[in-house]
């Protein structure tokens, strides 16, 4: 295969763009400053298409596809901002808000939260669905950190960073649908986990206030995510 054939040309929102064959639509869009919202995606972790915020339309397909896990193809025509997509994205975001107790005003991550910021960015001023108000646990058994399931959006960034970067795989997901929860080890209190190294990668990669450091009060939990890009870079140099 020649280098030439590994370069694909496609259209995003009517613009001609070039991409490597192994790139996803999201990567190409970002390179070209085309905004596609994401929540579960983060550079340096395997994309999984869980949050569905990055859904795009592709000409010739009646299905909407997640841009973070869809690879480019020659001649592909992608639409990222149709009226239909904007509506679906807002509805998905509203469903996330209605599913658990996201009280921004009293959240440790108020002002630093990707969910809150995205709601503002895409103009979601209220939730059309009835709130579920589930009774969820807060596990503060770890010496340094807390997991508040009220704020979790099941993006599984914590699961992936713990497995792929730290190599501990303390986090996982248990249950299905509305009952799904992130768990530590064999669904036990975080403080009793034998695999957790207390590295705090999960805390800082978490997009909301679901994972936070003890002692942080409302608005105080700003996340520091630079470590991931740094580690990814250093590890790629080594190999």
């Amino acid at each position: 295969m020649t280098i030439q054939s590994q370069i694909k040309t496609l259209k995003i929102d009517g613009r001609d763009v070039g991409a490597r064959a192994d790139e996803t639509i999201l990567e190409v869009a970002r390179e070209n400053n085309i905004f596609i919202p994401t929540l579960c995606n983060v550079d340096g972790l395997t994309p999984i298409g869980a949050c569905r915020m990055c859904l795009v339309e592709i000409k010739g397909s009646n299905r909407l596809l997640p841009a973070c896990v869809t690879h480019v193809q020659e001649g592909m025509e992608v639409i990222t901002n149709s009226e239909r997509l904007l509506t679906y994205r807002r509805l998905i975001l509203e469903l996330i808000f209605s599913e658990r107790n996201h009280n921004c005003a009293v959240c440790v991550s108020n002002g630093h939260c990707e969910l809150q910021a995205l709601a503002q960015k895409i103009g979601m001023t209220h939730v059309h669905f009835p709130y579920l108000f589930p009774h969820l646990k807060v596990d503060a058994s770890n010496l340094r950190f807390v997991i508040d399931h009220n704020r979790c959006i099941l993006c599984t960034r914590c699961v992936r960073v713990c497995d792929e970067i730290e190599g501990a795989h303390t986090w996982d997901v248990m249950g299905r649908g509305i009952d799904a929860r992130v768990i530590t080890d064999l669904n036990q209190e975080w403080g009793t986990s034998e695999t957790c190294t207390s590295c705090s990668k999960c805390v800082h990669i978490c997009p909301t206030g679901a994972l936070f450091e003890k002692g942080k009060s409302v608005t105080e939990m700003a996340k520091r995510q630079q470590f991931l890009a740094y580690l990814t870079l250093m590890r790629s140099k080594k190999s």
Binding site: H102, A105, V106, H126, V127, H135
Partner: protein, 177 residues
Amino acid sequence: MSKPTLATLWLDGCSGCHMSFLDIDEQIITLAEKADIVYCPLIDVKTFPEMVDITLVEGAVGNKELWEKIYHVRQHTKILVSLGDCAVTGNVPSMRNPFGVHPTLERAYLEEGNLFPQIPSEIVPPLLSYVRPVHEVVKVDVFVPGCPPPAEAILFVLSELLEGRLPEIGEKSRFGR
């Protein structure tokens, strides 16, 4: 021609949104030139007028009295504005929802009470089983999130409505704050 009328309502909330409204400072004079404030917790009118052009609602709907009140106000208001996170999402008042009414009352009046701990049975209106945002009870026309929405956002919303436009909040406010 008479001026448009403006009302503000205080449901299950902390009055922070009203305080933020007052933070428009001297611009309230300009506002008073454009509209008549006919009903508000801060003025001495007890009954809601027959018809009001714009009503700002602060707070969630948490008890029977507020439920009846918001129904009444909706019927007598042309444009109803959910002002602040409690009205828009339920926010802090709704944090009792996962626990249920009785555990909440027990916690507040029995566990924390001293001298003669008892759950009130008269005068205090009965709590609804769930605290609800306003739009889950009656139709809402404009939503202004924020805890509280900043004064500039409230002034912007009112100015737009008084000019006959539906305001786009955009970057002016957000959930939390």
